[in-house]
Symmetry: C2
Subunit: 469 residues, 2 copies
């Protein structure tokens, strides 16, 4: 919250905290350098902050004990899930304790009758889906990475599927959170809706560990669709692909996935995943529903894409074909990295109203071309969300500067078009520079809430909130 919060605790303080933690947690407190290094960052661009200690709690009460102790001693705490966040959320910028939630791996309850479940925060989405598959249910939010549910809640993640099923925001019914002073609070309920007071659940969702620690999540589940059909449709132009998406959304089509890959991303995906497509802008689509409903939607979408220069649908109906397709989509990041080994990848996360998507994408594409950089585009375009993966050599100052400038302009373009700099990755460290521009006076309200719920500023300092008032 202020510059002081980013000073590291004194060595004596850390030693005292370590001793007191070890009294209760035993070997589940570590200061081994390899463990500290592993907990110093997530994925994406490096944002490094090596913690002084890593703890591995197993119960809500242990988390409460750790937080109360750190709060008393003014030691920063950075929650750590599966380590897949992209915006630097996991860097212990002021040292202190990295709180590894990996042992919160229990699925506490699954109710096929209520279509919901309760999981500990460290459960990964793949583990959850494997667990519920036999019940005929699934959890749809799919950011690609095998993230933890707690981490996905903390960053308000989404990914493919959100256009039909919503993001973490729409799929979380309640939480257990531990506050910085060590209270264990259950928010929300299992009711599908409630008007009973302030919405604490959705305040913690997306708060990136800055208000407390999410330890349990109550999630909606969905019946597996009777019919799933995936299809690929290739276009001659980016304009045509985007226009088809906009037309589909305006026609009430409720596809489960509407993913755009531009020709550069397609080149990367074709090489990396050995796909049999051409290097042109492409939509990856998935339809969920009853047989007749899916058939109807496929036909409507075929008519719409044909109107906008799209080619024939190439279907993937068998589960193994669908899985191969979506695996290729999910491996976009790796595919891009393989384009230029040794380069770094700066990600952007622009999200705009669907009406602004064509202009935003085309202006951004022109900006990429003018920049001379390699920056494939991949997007959850049904939500108006797209990512660049800008490749740059961190040892090349000029390329790094041009990369940062392109990423900056991409975020600001989205904001200026009524959108946001972050559709699904969160703010972390890298997007703080846009907070004032996007939220204006709202930043002061966010800081007031932060101060009210974490008065000593121990929770994940240096994230989300700009330091200067």
């Amino acid at each position: 919250m202020n510059a002081q919060a980013l000073l590291r605790p004194a060595p004596g303080t850390i030693a005292e905290v370590k001793t007191r933690l070890a009294e209760r947690l035993g070997a589940r407190v570590s200061a081994a350098q390899a463990v500290l290094n592993q907990h110093s960052h997530g994925e994406g661009l490096p944002a490094i902050g090596v913690p002084d200690l890593v703890v591995f709690p197993e119960t809500n009460e242990e988390v409460a004990f750790i937080l109360a102790l750190c709060n008393e001693c003014r030691v920063p705490v950075t929650p750590f899930g599966a380590g897949s966040s992209l915006e630097g959320q996991l860097a212990a910028l002021a040292g202190g304790v990295s709180l590894d939630m990996g042992r919160f791996d229990k699925i506490l309850d699954v109710s096929p009758d209520a279509l919901d479940c309760r999981v500990q925060a460290g459960v990964t989405r793949e583990a959850l889906n494997a667990h519920v598959r036999d019940t005929g249910l699934f959890f749809p939010v799919d950011p690609g990475a095998n993230a933890s549910i707690g981490g996905m809640a903390s960053t308000r993640a989404s990914g493919t599927n959100a256009v039909r099923y919503g993001t973490m925001r729409e799929n979380i019914l309640g939480l257990t959170v531990v506050t910085p002073d060590g209270r264990i609070v259950r928010t929300g309920s299992r009711a599908r809706k409630s008007s009973a007071g302030l919405d604490l659940t959705h305040l913690y969702v997306g708060s990136e560990g800055t208000l407390g620690v999410i330890t349990e999540v109550q999630l909606k589940l969905y019946g597996l669709p009777e019919t799933i059909v995936a299809a690929v449709c290739q276009f001659n132009s980016l304009e045509g692909a985007v226009a088809a998406v906009v037309a589909a959304l305006q026609s009430n089509l409720r596809m489960a996935r509407i993913e755009l890959l531009d020709e550069v991303q397609m080149r990367a995906a074709i090489r990396y995943s050995k796909l049999d497509y051409v290097e042109t802008p492409t939509l990856f689509l998935e339809f969920h529903g009853t047989p007749a409903g899916v058939q109807e939607e496929v036909e409507m979408m075929q008519a719409i894409t044909a109107d906008h220069g799209g080619g024939e649908f190439q279907f993937a109906e068998r589960p193994e074909d669908r899985n191969r397709l979506w695996k290729a989509r999910h491996n976009s990041y790796q595919a891009v990295m393989a384009l230029s080994p040794g380069k770094n990848n700066m990600g952007t996360d622009a999200c705009v109203p669907i009406s602004a998507l064509p202009a935003c994408l085309l202006e951004t594409k022109a900006d990429i071309v003018a920049s001379g950089l390699t920056a494939p585009i991949v997007g959850h375009v049904g939500d108006g969300n797209f990512h660049l993966g800008i490749l740059f050599d961190p040892n090349d100052a000029d390329e790094t500067e041009r990369t940062e400038a392109l990423a900056f302009r991409t975020s600001r373009r989205a904001i200026s078009m009524g959108g946001t700099c972050s559709g699904e990755h969160g703010v972390g460290v890298h997007k703080i520079v846009h907070m004032q521009t996007e939220h204006g006076e709202g930043v002061a309200l966010m800081k007031a809430i932060k101060r009210a719920l974490d008065p000593n500023g121990i929770m994940n300092p240096g994230k989300i909130y700009p330091l200067i008032d």
Copy 2:
């Protein structure tokens, strides 16, 4: 927030505030007794608090001026929309200023391309739908009453249609709010999703005017469905009707409306709206979609209802027939009041996970019978939400006491089954007694947020938050 907050301001303070308000607002400040009385309550059970002044602002800047002045002088402010709230939210319990938002009646922007719109808070849902009808769009949230959009946002309202389209929570993209110290803050964006910082929008949604004043709302719109079919299905038993609803939800059926009326409510509706049905538990249904999709869903639902003792569907396909049906549903309150002229109607708003709905409804029904009271049941059962309208004579102390006890047990039963005391009406005055039971330690967090955003406690004092810490 504390007992002091409910003391009325001194007459001299009110006189000074009135003078300063009149300097800027002229005749749009009133202390006429009729105007004060009109702004002393909403609908539902009486919760009376006569304000000292009523103001009629027309711009965000005027609202900011009024709040800053009242904040400086420690004068309570109670926002007032269409006057249709049910839980006492509009009573100026500590006097002060009632802020009538009726002149915020402009639709600022409608974007058929983005499927969204921006409206001033005083626009009613019927006005909005009349305005957008020619664009082929509609706003689905429908609480029955012709409430203001700002009021619906403030109470996190829903009503029929929520089972498919969500509540106000899912349909608000952003807000303009004025803080108690007079800052005008724009929250959210027009993007369909965002991970850019704390979710201020959804903190204000449902905060019932206790954190500031909502002056503008950015809403999702939807394309009018190609086909709409309404149908009535009557059952021999409440069990059968509820079991059919649960089975339908578990089968991925996405009906737009799933409304239950028990045999007492049906008696009231048949008499009041001259309907040609029998007095048994009944589902009112509505299907939205493509012709083939609706046909498929209707057939699936017919099979499900037949399995649970439901009779033949009685369809209403023509718009005038559908309107007559839903008008009868919306007039439930008036129909109940007409059952026993002169009696009052105490409403409940229980909402439970769908798996708990059969037990909750049947136990509640048995409780009603045992109480000897007349209490029709009507519910948005697709959301797990149902209302009793308990009729009582306020001059009969015994009947009043039994009524309060039945309502209390109904709320607590919902909470004990993993649900909430308020699915859609809010807390206001009447549900405060359940806040600690439902939220536990969460109440302290709500109060901390309230203190942070309204340190002088001027915003709608006496609502939502229990006084005792």
